[in-house]
Amino acid sequence: MKKSLLYIGLCIFALNTGCNDKDFLNVPPSNVLQNEQLWNDEGLILSVLADLYDRYPDRQTDPNNGIPSMVTQTIDNWAEFARFDEAFASENGQYWRHSSREYNYVFPGMIVAGNIEITYWDYAYIRELNIFIDKCATSTKLKQEVKDRFIAEARYLRASVYFEEVKRVGGVPLILQPLEYDYKGDPAYLQHARAKESEIYDFVISEMDSIKKYVPASPVSKTRVTAGLAQATKIRAALYAGSIAKHGVTTPQVSLPGGEVGIPSSMAAKYYTTALQTAQELIGSGSYSLYKKNADNVTQNFVSLFIDKGANPEVIFAKDYKLQSGRVQPWTLWSQPRSNAEEQQGGRLNPSLNLVQSFELLDNSFAPLPVKTAGGDYIYYNDPQDLFANRDPRLAATVILPGTEFKDKKVDIWAGYIKKDGSIVTGSNFGAKAKLDGVNDVQVVGFDGPVNNLEFSAQTGFIVRKYMDPTVGSGRIGTQSEVWWIRYRYAEVLLNAAEAAFELGQAGVAADYINQVRERAGFKTPLTAAQITFGRIVHERKVELAFEGHEFWDMKRWRLAHIIWNGRNTDLTLTPGDETAVSTRVFGLWPYKIYDPGSPNNGKYVFKQILPGAVTAPHEFRLGNYYGFIMDDIRNNNPKIVKNPNQ
């Protein structure tokens, strides 16, 4: 007892005699970096910047970890490509894309915890970019040019976010400083009204002008900001603004009196001129050129354009991936043909017949695929590929067609046998076998399908090829692919220039730019100035930029979205070159083999146009979809925010 008293006494004594030296308590933390440490170290700033780059608004994240995931078409979000009419989603969990008629008004937004889609309102990211810009400027130990480049890169990202905001919800509050609350109970000074739609575009354009001089002038990097990228972004922004000004006239309801939505048509020429002039500067600089490494095989050339990461002269800005680094993408895993898949899955993204038939013939004319004669009889083909003969070579480079190869193996896409009496013998699984004319166990369906409602089978008769990685292992869950996702490429710049020139009445200039892209694609006869119409421009972008996430934004800015996705149960158009043709449902084209021993047609292929079973509703893009719904909680927090029209 006495002993323990002694110990207690000792303890109290020890506690009381702790030092009173101030320095002792002011230990710098060893697990958090201080402002002055971080902002004076080039390597540390670069890693902060890398995180900010990683959150560029096409990111796919786990939204439960705090950073919202974007609803957008990108290489690690295949299913979003099936949202409109480019493709069908061959996976059980994704058929809703073809059975729901209307798009939510918040679409396209971002996904937050609980997998809820909310308005794209990414001010958390904007705030971090603002803080970065502010703090980086306080750095004293960095070289001026290094500091300027970092700040310019953050400003590029900030402008990209505002560009994305204006595309999705129209004018938003333009916040260029980190805002701080003073805890005095009145947050009114933090509430900012929405800027005009044109002001946001003007901001993006002017930011690109001013950051250009601080970033490398030559294309030294494809994944960081360069002067070429600043110009390409400026062109895209100016073109978007110009087309909203010009084509917005057709939908006067899609505007707000304060200009938060809608751009006056008087500003169209100014924006188009900016776009064209900047494009001419970028084209004239010679920094980029079209990819032509396989000039003797135009189809292979167009395939390689997307998967060749070595000195690719066409790529301006890409999101890069690397094997065995944790940063790989599953595009090939998801959509690899089931017949030579490296896992028990694949075949997900099935391009639609709507898209396939828009690829024109080599004589520059449009025609549906010839599957039936004028008399209504089938046309018989020895090889399924023959149906697609004399089409734009980009078709075979964008889509895996029946009878073509992937990874040096022929795909096996055919839906069954058609007998002489017209009856069909088919099965319900990959490569299913059945009894055919007394012979047992005959394969009656291809190993890639198509079988209706069988996930991973090519339910439209096609599989996507663009961005598919032919490397061994690209289809394995444990390996996946390091093919990059191209955000900006030179061909888009040419098409942007062509569109701006056309809208400014310079059809000759437009023809020159569009012909460069078409010549590379494999067209021998250039288009004349008189042949350049608005429909031609729409069409060229549709086929050149398919599966690159452009279609939706293009249809929106041209105010065509509510016309082509009008909610009507319309059959597939017979005029694929018509830019206003309704395309509310995705169609497929199934090859069948003829079983008719003794007939010359025995073993030949015929094709049937079908509507996949999961396509049960036509898409309807309502006027209120042009600009996303700004949710009630945003407007409760800031009463100055006005609602978007038509919702």
Binding site: R568, N569, E620, L623, G624, N636, P645, Q647
Partner: protein, 233 residues
């Protein structure tokens, strides 16, 4: 020992059953119902096309209660008793909302206490008068008169008229198995519009199909419909 464990078990069971009530609010029980009408006649609209908003102020953060309008212009909702504001968004419906006489704005005040039935008067651009559906075999003919209601500066033209045939009573262009749309330029006399189509074979076989005629007004997204007509085949 055995007894005590039984006691424990009973006490535990008792605790489980006697726990607090699930909810301390009663479910809403007052019905607010009515129709969108013009001079007492209901405005027929498309399925899931038109909605309006109820706001209940005084709860801090405000959020609208959406009210869907069914095909025959009717609506109903279960609400708590209280004071509400009714707003028909300007973009909704083939009509203009009238400004309210008490508030002089687009906002209508509504006090819910017990069940109430109240029609909302609106100003349609057009009315579909005397729609008639006649069949000879598979040939369906619909006739009606389009009466222009708004004739002042806010008047709008007809963009097209249409006849839709569906398998179910939800008749709209998305569900139609056959439709006929005629643009305004091809309408000779709005007082005597006639649309024909051939009803296709229905798979699986049905004894009846449903049809409606509709007017698409230029610059207005939601269409104006006739009442649903069941047609015997």
């Amino acid at each position: 020992m055995k007894t005590s464990s039984y006691y424990t078990l009973f006490v535990a069971l008792g605790l489980l059953f006697a726990s607090c009530k699930k909810d301390n609010y009663k479910a809403p029980s007052s019905t607010f119902s009515g129709r969108l009408v013009y001079q007492g006649e209901p405005i027929n609209v498309g399925f899931n096309d038109v909605y309006f908003e109820l706001w209940e102020p005084g709860w801090g953060k405000s959020s609208a209660i959406p009210m869907s309008v069914s095909q025959d212009g009717a609506f109903s909702a279960l609400l708590f008793n209280g004071h509400y504001k009714v707003i028909i968004p300007a973009s909704q419906g083939p009509f203009r909302s009238l400004s309210d006489k008490t508030t002089n704005t687009d906002t209508m005040l509504l006090t819910v206490s017990g069940n109430i039935k109240q029609d909302i008067e609106v100003m349609p651009y057009y009315m579909i008068r005397s729609p008639k559906f006649t069949t000879t075999g598979k040939e369906l003919t619909a006739t009606f008169r389009a009466e222009k209601i708004i004739k002042d500066v806010n008047a709008r033209d007809i963009e097209k008229v249409a006849l839709y045939v569906c398998k179910t009573q939800f008749v709209n262009p998305a569900n139609s198995i056959k439709s006929k749309e005629v643009s305004a330029a091809d309408i000779a006399d709005p007082a005597n519009i006639s649309l024909q189509l051939t009803i296709p074979d229905v798979v699986p076989l049905q004894k009846t199909v449903f049809a409606r005629v509709a007017i698409k007004i230029a610059g207005v997204e939601d269409m104006l419909y006739s009442p649903v007509q069941e047609i015997n085949l």
